[in-house]
Amino acid sequence: MDPNAIAWTILVLPLAAAVIIFLLLKRWPMASAVLSTLSAFATLGMSIVLAHALGNSATILTQSYPWIALPGVLRLEIGLLVDAKSAGMMLIVTGVGALVHLFSLGYMRGDAGLARFFAGLSLFMFSMTGIVLADNFAMMFIFWELVGVSSYLLIGHWFEKDSAADAAKKAFLTNRIGDFGFMIGILLAWVVTKSIVFTEMKTAVDAGGLNQVLLGAAVLLIFCGAVGKSAQFPLHVWLPDAMEGPTPVSALIHAATMVAAGVFMLARVAFLVEGVDHANIAATVIAYIGGFTALLAALMATQQNDIKRILAYSTLSQLGYMVMAQGLYGSTEGLFHLYTHAWFKALLFLGAGAVIFACHHEQDIWKMGGLRKKLPITFATFALGTAALIAVPGTSGFWSKEEILVKAYGTDKLLYAVGIGVAALTAFYMTRLFIVAFLGKSRSENAEHAHEVGPVMWVPLAVLAFMAVFSGYGFITGGFPAFHPGHTHEGSHEAGFLTTILSLVALAGGVFAGWKLYSGREREPISLRLLANRFYFDELYSLIIRTVQDLPARLVEYLDLYVVHGLLAYFPSQLARGAGWTFTRLQSGHLQGYGFLFGAGLLALLWYLLS
């Protein structure tokens, strides 16, 4: 099969699955689930073939189809760009995707909306594939919006719950705000580079002579899209709430892939970010937003009690690392971390899912405890995932975090310090989570009676655990240069050595503090309300919505009703009413009357014109 056809099939197959489920299979939930899962595994297989077909060549040329074509003025195409970045990203999307589908077969069994759930997952796979393979901004934006919809549908899967319905709406609207900037950015980039096709834009940027101010503005506005999708400060608030969705959704969409789309997009257009010549404010802003989010989210994670929310804040924090790398011109380093993070964070979420499943939907870690013996496989795999996240040497997370830190060392010492600090915080809050949930004694009925999950759920955990440890090694990443920056970065041996030492100190410090504080505890020993309440962002934002949106909306409604309508309709109509009987006759509603007036008017006009 030729690579062009494979690439297009990878894109279209999940859509076909979603449509078939939606139109035909709603009554047969298990058939829907199996169809969706098979399509996910098929796309995984094809993604592997595609990656091999790419080999060491730069790109595979594929065919494009015009979506909107106005000859001579505008062409918006649906076209695929298969290169190291997209082929590698497809392995993550379909790899994690397939495993999450498999896990969901067990986790979602018996759910009333099973068919709808799997249709949503397939729709998501389609949309995400579109983002990854897009060769131009128009197509990327289209699929960018579509992942937003699939995320909306899946967060709101249990829509009869108020909290889930609100979370879905919040996620969608927050993303729309980011996309507001994204769209303007795309338009500006089109104005500056005269194209929206990535390869052509790159040519234009390489040729130089572009307006620096506009280009910088375009980069920052495009970055807004990433801020929304990858939940960076100040639009980070939707991601923790998105945990209202079923846990497999959290693993796939809100940890491994969709939230990483912002990072991927920035890496895709790294030439734009790096194309701004002097005093690259845009890149600096990106790096600092990323670093700030990493720190902020890590602080918030230390005081949460819901197992999924802790992981959600951790995702925010790790995404912050990746975004920071993009701003430091480290697109390959950022992608490498995206790649390792996808495996170990999906593992942690699915592990959390297994725990929640085993504990009858208990999510509070203080009501768990002692799960080590009850869920041995989940425990072991979760331990490996935790090790990768806190960057224990030898695991994948260690390699990728090291790359980013070394990059920061050479560029910005402040961000370097932040990066090390976040590493310590990560070790701390994950130790807390691990000790409280898995060690010690059971602290509730549900935890007492937990049983290990079945193979359809632990097999994906095992595969992911393997990847969490080994995905950073050359025998796996070797074929995909985009995820394998190698050790040729400008940072010297000294930078690498220092970073390794400091990372180890951060790791040891974090784990030690966590162990000291939480080992053997029955309840939270320290209470920091500012952190527990997430710096009051949600409260602040709902205040803003009430004062900047809802209040003016009501004000405008009254203005519209009384001032505009009054001036232009009510008074004139009162005047007209007073003016004479002809108008009062009009409202009596006789067809003949209208007809007569209408005909008479036209005849009078004709007579006037022609006489």
Partner: protein
């Protein structure tokens, strides 16, 4: 095929006449609507998109019956029809909304008052719209639209909802009557400005070119802008619209908001813009400010609405702002976007009003807090279709509205790209602010969906039946069109491109 346009225009008129003299109302109306739709589809397939454009507009399927001759025997005024790409798209819109509107009309036994008049009025509105879109003669272009307004007023006054319906009918009559009067003044002035020899629109454009720009043209354009503008609910002449749609019977709201209202925009693109390009340029900034009134002012007012029908009415006013942005761009991309959006908005708002009518039938109200939540649990099919309609309306990719809006946005930035300007001009700034409207639409639409369909089933909600297969037919028809055009916008663009070619010379 020479008289096919006459057939399309007069079919609903004849059907209305048949109903008047005693033919069964609903079956006759349905038959006329579907025969009309099939005929229009056949015409669309027969239509040659690559028809040579000579000067003004490349009309096909033309027919002409002179009504008035001048001293030399040249036709001054004719009952003349023809289709070019732009009018074909508008005719398609009408032909698609009409059957849906007839299908959602209540059975004859369920109509309070005269059921004949009810069905007849819908047909007359459609006939007026079809006549206006197909006319190649300015006089009949105007006259057909007037013809369609009368049944609109009647339907609101006689079959509308709420106790205020007579007052509402009175307001809209007066408002649109005044708007039409201003428009008439503008058209008369235009007639003289183009030499005063013919009402043929293409010829008038040629004449206007020969005569060249004049200072007075600016004022003619302003008259046309206000006249056409108030018919399309251009801010601040919009206050009639939301209430009228809320209180109108469902098919009337669908036909007026979906189809007839587009007459004003069509007129701007067909007549004002090509004939008075310098006038359009002179007032461009004014239009930009007013359209922001539609998008932002009315947009925020939409957020505050608690009744679904009023919310949809306001949203329909708001979305006109995006179409005006396409018109104001005065270039090929913007014009494409404007016509596409007229079509997409027409279909999607008709769909939403049909759904709103369905809720009103079930609950006797469209008050969102009163109806409460959880409807998706009770009526899953209703919920799915409502969600898709809402997604279409907020410009989600996959639906026609997105394909149209993105053209409007690119159209607004095109002059900047072409000139290589390094700062944003008024048009681009307006587009930036208009894009905020995309966020606003999402806010009120998702809030409404959340309020009505999500959340727990409220105790005390009366038992409500899900959509029956018969009820789904019109909804799925409209939804299918939105998806089809959304996936393959080329279906319509191929017709539009030749007919909008003249906009390549209008922009600055």
């Amino acid at each position: 095929m020479t008289h096919v346009i006459e057939f399309i225009v007069f079919l609903p008129l004849l059907a209305a006449l048949a109903i008047l003299v005693g033919a069964p109302a609903r079956p006759t109306a349905l038959a006329a609507a579907f025969v009309g739709l099939i005929t229009v589809l056949v015409v669309a397939f027969q239509f040659n998109p690559d028809h040579e454009v000579v000067g003004g507009f490349a009309y096909q399927f033309t027919s002409s019956h002179p009504v008035l001759l001048d001293a030399k025997g040249n036709a001054v005024l004719s009952l003349a029809f023809g289709l070019d790409g732009m009018s074909l798209v508008m005719v398609l819109l009408t032909a698609l909304v009409l059957p849906a509107a007839i299908l959602v009309s209540p059975p004859e036994s369920g109509i309070k008052g005269n059921p004949r008049l009810y069905y007849l009025s819908s047909l007359l509105i459609a006939a007026g719209a079809l006549g206006a879109f197909c006319s190649t003669d300015l006089f009949f272009f105007y006259a057909f639209h007037e013809l369609a307004l009368i049944p609109t007023f009647l339907m609101i006054g006689m079959y509308g909802h709420g106790t205020n319906r007579v007052k509402t009918a009175w307001t809209i009559t007066l408002y649109l009557g005044a708007g039409s009067l201003v428009l008439l003044g503008g058209l008369v002035a235009l007639f003289y400005a183009s030499g005063g020899t013919t009402f043929d629109i293409s010829e008038m454009i040629q004449q206007a070119k020969i005569i060249g720009p004049a200072e007075s043209h600016r004022w003619v354009y302003l008259l046309l802008l206000i006249g056409f503008g108030s018919l399309v609910s251009l801010f601040p002449f919009h206050t009639w619209a939301a209430r009228a749609y809320a209180e109108a019977p469902t098919p009337t709201a669908m036909l007026h908001a979906g189809v007839l209202k587009k007459f004003g925009l069509y007129g701007l693109l067909r007549i004002a813009q090509p004939m008075l390009p310098d006038g359009a340029e002179a007032w461009q900034n004014l239009v930009l400010v007013l359209l922001l009134g539609n998008i932002l002012f009315v947009g925020y007012s939409t957020i505050a609405q608690k009744r679904l029908d009023l919310m949809l009415g306001n949203s329909s006013v708001m979305h006109m702002g995006f179409i005006f942005l396409g018109v104001a761009s005065a270039n090929v991309i913007g014009a494409h976007g404007a016509v596409m959006l007229m079509f997409a908005h027409g279909i999607s708002i008709a769909l939403l009003f049909a759904l709103c009518g369905g809720l009103r039938d079930r609950f006797g109200s469209t008050d969102m807090p009163e109806i409460g939540g959880g409807l998706a649990t009770k009526m899953p099919r209703f919920g799915i279709i409502f969600a898709m309609a809402a997604f279409a309306s907020i410009g989600l990719p996959g639906f026609a509205n997105f394909a149209s809006e993105i053209l409007v946005f690119f159209g607004a930035f095109e002059p900047m790209q072409k000139s290589g300007a390094t700062t944003l001009g008024p048009l681009q700034w307006t587009c930036v602010l208009a894009l905020w409207g995309v966020v606003i639409s999402a806010v009120y639409m998702l809030r409404a969906f959340r309020r009505l369909f999500n959340g727990p089933v409220r105790l005390g909600t009366p038992d409500c039946a899900d959509l029956t297969p018969a009820e789904q037919v019109p909804l799925v028809l409209l939804l299918g069109v939105l998806l089809l055009v959304g996936f393959v916008p080329g279906l319509l663009l191929k017709y539009l491109t030749p007919s909008l070619e003249l906009f390549s010379t209008l922009g600055r």
